[in-house]
Amino acid sequence: MAETTKDKVRSFIIENFLFGDTSYDLAENASLIENDIIDSTAVLELVAFIEDSFDITMSDSDIVPANLDSVARISAFIGSRTGTVAA
């Protein structure tokens, strides 16, 4: 089965911010900030991941919690830019 955008985003977060801790219950709508999963440097890592993996250029105004603060929001944002529906 093809890897979905959400799967890719989730894998990136687990590998890079949770250091492979698959036991962490990362809910789709859980806030990455409130749950201390990312800090200010990690936001920049996340932006680099999205740009590199999905061939998207993010402007400053895109880099806001409304677009990036959960697996669901990130996937939706990527979907809106690539014209795919987040699944």
């Binding site: 250091f19 492979g20 801790d21 201390d36 999963i37 800090d39």
Partner: protein
């Protein structure tokens, strides 16, 4: 400045035990050793001769032989106290400050502590009452640890002396580890070692007839937040501050050996050095550390200040590889895991002072706690300001101004800034309001704890534990004073004065002295209206005013640059050291059982490939490495020694 160790109770072969305990802390006092053994008590002492070079040997008894003291540190006002005692007919046999304590105790018992202006820890055996009196200075400059075994009570200036006691072995205290990975330091009396405790600052402990009692003899306190501010004349306050600081420096220049000064290039050490230079007719020697990386280096300011004062200045460069090289010795000295490498360059710096032939240095430490210099104070103020208007898109811009040295923050949108600092959902009545973001961010490092450790710590919250230690009056203080209390009462003795202070200096037999922690100055600053300390977002406002004609404007008006050192990058550059690989290997991590080996491997890889890692990753890396080193130093080595015995 020295180290001491001892016991109350029965021991087998007291002479050998005291020798072994004293040898373990010989670095604190390389000039002489001494011991005292009585029925049911013993004292050992390693001396660094600074006051009373020829007649200050310890342990020292009074002329009746009934009182005997082992003392670490200095009583800076001993000259005035001695004169006062002489005027009341007391006769002195030595020129030391140690004898002053004996006389004072003889007259007043432990009530005499309130008269001492100094940085000290001591153990005083009172043969008449068959009791041991242990005490520590008000702010926690000098250390004192204790433990019990089979009915005998033991104490020492450093824990490594206690590990010489037969039957005492090192075990990590999981709650202390949680505290370090949340609050940066264990909450005293807890230490990193199970069953080994620390006497809290400003406390006196009495061991008598098998009972141990502890009580504070001084407390840091602030006025009620609703106390109407008296109309204060800023000029007069600055003058009074200047007079108090000048006197604090004057007292701390007292020694029978030359006194030097650290000079970081910031406001605090520059001010101390400027005052000291005026009191050193032979000229003042100043010392600093420099870094290759521009974000850590302050050498331009150091040179400017040294040149303005005409001091004999020496600097030591902390270059790539230096921190990693000295880090194992740093952890052996701190005796606790740490989450930052900042003590390591100070370890190098004290070595430079020793090589220059000095034993005593003044430092500017303490000013940031006493006069509100840290960023965390400004951050709390901005967070409160934002919380009043959570939808504002303008207010969060202020966070950028607070941390110009953190590139990750500079590039953030207003929305992210507000989110990171919890600006919209702050709870202003939270007693830890000022420090909550720091504690929360630091606690994120616990993601690396092993499943077993997490299970052990289930239900424990270090921040809640801290709240439970706050005094009743805390809730009635101004928010700035609350934040100052958290820094002064916990992080200052738990990290700044110990891991960065006493331990790094004493590793090379150097005594640090802290004029800003003179209790008269601390009490004076506590009474000041908060706006005199943090005016808007100008930190240490009144201190700057007091420094007006002493420092060049460029130094006086500098925004504080926090003292920092490279963290994970210090270990992941070219040529990783073998011990780093060994400590962080999957085998070591699994064997010690404290961290998740797979996650640590990923962290190590990430720090190596992404040098600009954020705070969480850096703190986790240094915390894990230092914990593993601690384990290797104190537990594995202890086990090997026990097996060999």
């Amino acid at each position: 400045m020295c180290g001491f160790a001892g016991y109350v109770g029965q021991v087998h072969d007291a002479d050998t035990l005291l020798k072994q305990m004293t040898d373990a802390i010989a670095h604190r006092g390389p000039d002489a050793q001494g011991k005292f053994v009585a029925s049911g008590a013993g004292l050992g002492h390693a001396r660094l001769s600074i006051v009373g070079l020829d007649d200050g040997q310890q342990p020292m008894s009074d002329e009746t032989g009934q009182l005997t003291i082992a003392f670490n540190g200095e009583i800076f006002n001993y000259v005035e106290l001695r004169e006062e005692l002489r005027s009341r007919g007391r006769r002195f046999r030595t020129s030391s400050d140690t004898e002053v304590i004996l006389h004072l105790y003889d007259q007043m018992g432990e009530e005499c502590l309130s008269l001492l202006n100094g940085d000290f820890a001591f153990a005083l055996w009172d043969q008449r009452r068959r009791r041991m009196v242990l005490a520590r200075d008000r702010m926690g400059v000098r250390p004192l640890f204790h433990t019990s075994k089979d009915g005998t009570f033991y104490f020492a200036s450093e824990i490594k002396a206690l590990l010489k006691i037969p039957g005492i072995s090192a075990k990590i205290d999981p709650l202390a580890l949680d505290q370090i990975f949340t609050l940066w330091a264990p909450i005293a009396p807890r230490t990193a070692f199970s069953d080994i405790h620390e006497l809290e600052p400003a406390s006196v402990m009495i061991v008598e007839q098998g009972r141990v009692t502890v009580k504070p003899y001084w407390q840091l306190a602030f006025p009620h937040r609703d106390t109407p501010s008296k109309i204060v004349n800023e000029v007069e306050v600055a003058e009074e501050l200047r007079a108090l600081l000048t006197d604090a420096v004057r007292l701390r220049m007292r020694a029978d050996v030359p006194v030097g000064s650290y000079l970081s290039g910031g406001l605090d050490s520059s001010l101390v050095s400027a005052l000291a230079a005026g009191m050193a007719p032979q000229g003042l020697k100043t010392f600093s550390v420099t870094f290759d990386s521009a974000e850590h280096d302050e050498s331009a300011y150091q040179h400017e200040m040294a040149s303005a004062l005409g001091t004999q200045h020496r600097a030591i460069a902390c270059r790539e590889g230096d921190i990693a090289r000295v880090f194992p010795q740093v952890i052996r000295s701190t005796e606790r895991p740490i989450i930052r490498t900042a003590p390591a360059p100070l370890y190098q710096l004290s070595g430079l002072v020793r090589d220059a032939g000095l034993k005593v240095v003044l430092t500017g430490e303490g000013a940031d706690e006493v006069f509100a210099g840290y960023d965390v104070f400004k951050e709390a103020r901005v967070r409160r300001f934002c919380a009043r208007q959570p939808t504002s898109r303008i207010r969060p811009h202020l966070f950028r101004k607070l941390y110009p040295y953190l590139p990750g923050l500079r590039q953030q949108s207003v929305e992210y800034l507000a989110a990171f600092f919890g600006a919209g959902d702050a709870l202003p009545n939270d007693p830890l309001f000022s420090h909550r973001p720091r504690f929360k961010t630091t606690a994120a490092t616990k993601i690396f704890f092993s499943g077993e450790l997490r299970e052990t710590l289930k239900g424990y919250d270090a921040a809640d534990d801290l709240v439970s230690r706050l005094p009743d009056a805390f809730s009635r203080w101004h928010p700035l004073n609350q934040a100052q209390y958290l820094e002064s009462r916990f992080l200052l003795p738990g990290y700044i004065l110990s891991s960065q202070g006493d331990r790094m200096a004493m590793a090379h037999g150097i005594e640090g002295r802290f004029p800003f922690l003179d209790h008269r100055l601390v009490e004076f600053a506590a009474r000041l209206p908060p706006e005199m300390k943090l005016k808007g977002l100008v930190e240490k406002y009144i201190l700057r005013k007091a420094a007006t004609d002493l420092l060049p404007r460029s130094i006086r008006e500098r925004t504080k640059q926090p003292y920092r050192a490279p963290d994970s990058q210090a270990f992941t550059g070219k040529g990783d050291l073998d011990y780093v690989q060994q400590c962080l290997s999957a085998e070591s991590i699994a064997a010690d059982g404290l961290f998740n080996a797979k996650a640590v491997a990923k962290l190590q890889q990430k720090c190596r490939t992404q040098p600009a890692s954020g705070f969480r990753d850096n703190a986790a890396f240094v915390g894990i490495l230092s914990t593993q080193l601690w384990h290797k130093n104190f537990i594995q080595q202890g086990n090997r020694t026990e097996q060999a015995a």
